[in-house]
Amino acid sequence: MDFRSKVTKVVLRVGLTLGLVCLLWLAWMATSGVAMAADPTGLGGTADAAIDYVWILVCAFLVMFMQPGFAMVGAGFTRAKNAGNFMTKNLMDFVIGSLVFFLIGYAIMMGGDWHGLWGTEGWFMLGDYYDVDAYLNMFWMLVFCATAATIVAGAVAERLKFRAYLIYSVVVSAIIYPIYGHWVWGGGWLSSLPFGLGAVDFAGSGVVHAVGGLVGLAGAIVLGPRFGRYDRNGKPQAIPGHSITLATLGVFILWFGWFGFNPGSTCNAHHLRISVIAVNTNLAAAAGGLMALLIAYWKTKKWDIGMLINGILAGLVAVTAPCAWIEGWAAIVIGLIGGMLMYASVKFLEAKGVDDPVGAVSVHGACGLWGLLSVGFFADGTYGNYSIEAPYVAGLFYGGGGEQLLAQFISVVVVAAWAFGMGYLTFKLMDMAFGIRVSPEEELQGLDILEHGTPAYPDFLTMPK
């Protein structure tokens, strides 16, 4: 037996044992009674609370619906021979995220605080966490977690083994997302930096998008480029996706879902600021799309629809952190810069030999970091930290000095190091254990038939290219 299959066997055994222990513990905990502090019935239901619950849940359902948006953009931007594989992966990161985040992710992210590093309670949502408030909060954080996981799929598309995808989905949902999420949203050390109001990230340019984009970058680097992405002389060749129509449907679904993602992040229907947030979200999307389209026209003399789609997403990602704290004009500027940054990042990665089939690293990674930083410049001192009461978040251009900017900058460096470092470690260890890239034959034939047994479009002739 060779080393790799031994390692795989050991990993499987350890995993199964851990799973059994967890189940036993779960059974023991479940029979030990519900703690009295919790309210699993919803007895505290006032009219005000009911409005908030409906607001948060409807927005969470919108965020969940971003999953098909990601699936359509990713599948549309890649080839028909891998479409079934891409669909399976997008379904499975939500399946795995839903279970893992409920069982352990939420406890690490929001379950109390241990020295500003991670949470330590709320495992399996038992005891005090069997509670309507805790379940609501868990569900909100879960749909964001699944967004972070699914972003990675685009960067590693068309060549990553399915089992490697399953494992990294667990790692993102249980460790990478919850821990940085704890630092910013769960009362961790970044949120209590002594500059400004500490590092802030309204709806997750950093917590969700930069995390997903940078884990994706690590995956794309470990995997290497797809066959045909560079010609014999190393010159980049585009590999056109199989459906601009699906990709466009996807970007519209995402744009729509973002109206849950950002305004819903008030987690409070009584903050009328939600109108400002919705408008800012929309403006940045429009500005990002326009800017990317114009740059592409200037550079290539074509109205490039792929760049337009990525530009809209770039604007949305960039405005996600600042959307609650800025004026409309700032949302436009942030979106315009997002569109530019995305274009530059696509060209930079391509020149460096990093193959990101759908542009996930440029859209979510680069623009996620820009979004975090932009708070430090444009926050206008009219909205607080998820609160309509002071202290308000104020950036460099609005008399906040450089303090908030410094806090944001620290958060940018930390998330880049954390997400890229953990992502690289995860993919590299898997690669050493069982090899994360499919065989050359399988890559050329397409992943659909060999990994899943059926092509996505059996009634059509889809030529491997």
Partner: protein, 112 residues
């Protein structure tokens, strides 16, 4: 009997069809094909980066005519398919040994 195989630009197909209608023709088969001649394909772009399309989509017409009709049919196709740019296509004329009308079993020149 001769078979005329014309590989033409997809966007000139309607013109060619009209020209052939005016001339009259016994029947025709149209296929969408991919290929290239001496010009070796095209450049297209996707998300800001170009790629080579080695085989470009073309329309292939197949018409079987009597020997006496070959030159005017070929002329009509040539004139109506031409743009003067690289990629206008090619016409091949092949001998046909026999033809059979499936419905009646007639063969030879009566079948076309």
């Amino acid at each position: 009997m001769k078979k005329i195989e014309a590989i033409i630009r997809a966007e000139r197909f309607e013109e060619v069809k009209e020209a052939l209608k005016r001339l009259g023709y016994p029947g025709m088969t149209k296929t969408i094909v991919e290929g290239h001649g001496k010009q070796k394909g095209l450049k297209q772009q996707f998300r800001g980066t170009t790629f080579e399309v080695e085989f470009t989509p073309k329309v292939k017409l197949e018409i079987v005519v009597l020997d006496g009709d070959v030159s005017r049919t070929v002329d009509a196709i040539t004139r109506s398919a031409r743009t003067g740019e690289v990629g206008d296509g090619k016409i091949f004329v092949l001998p046909v040994e026999n033809a059979v009308r499936v419905r009646t079993g007639e063969d030879g020149e009566n079948a076309i």
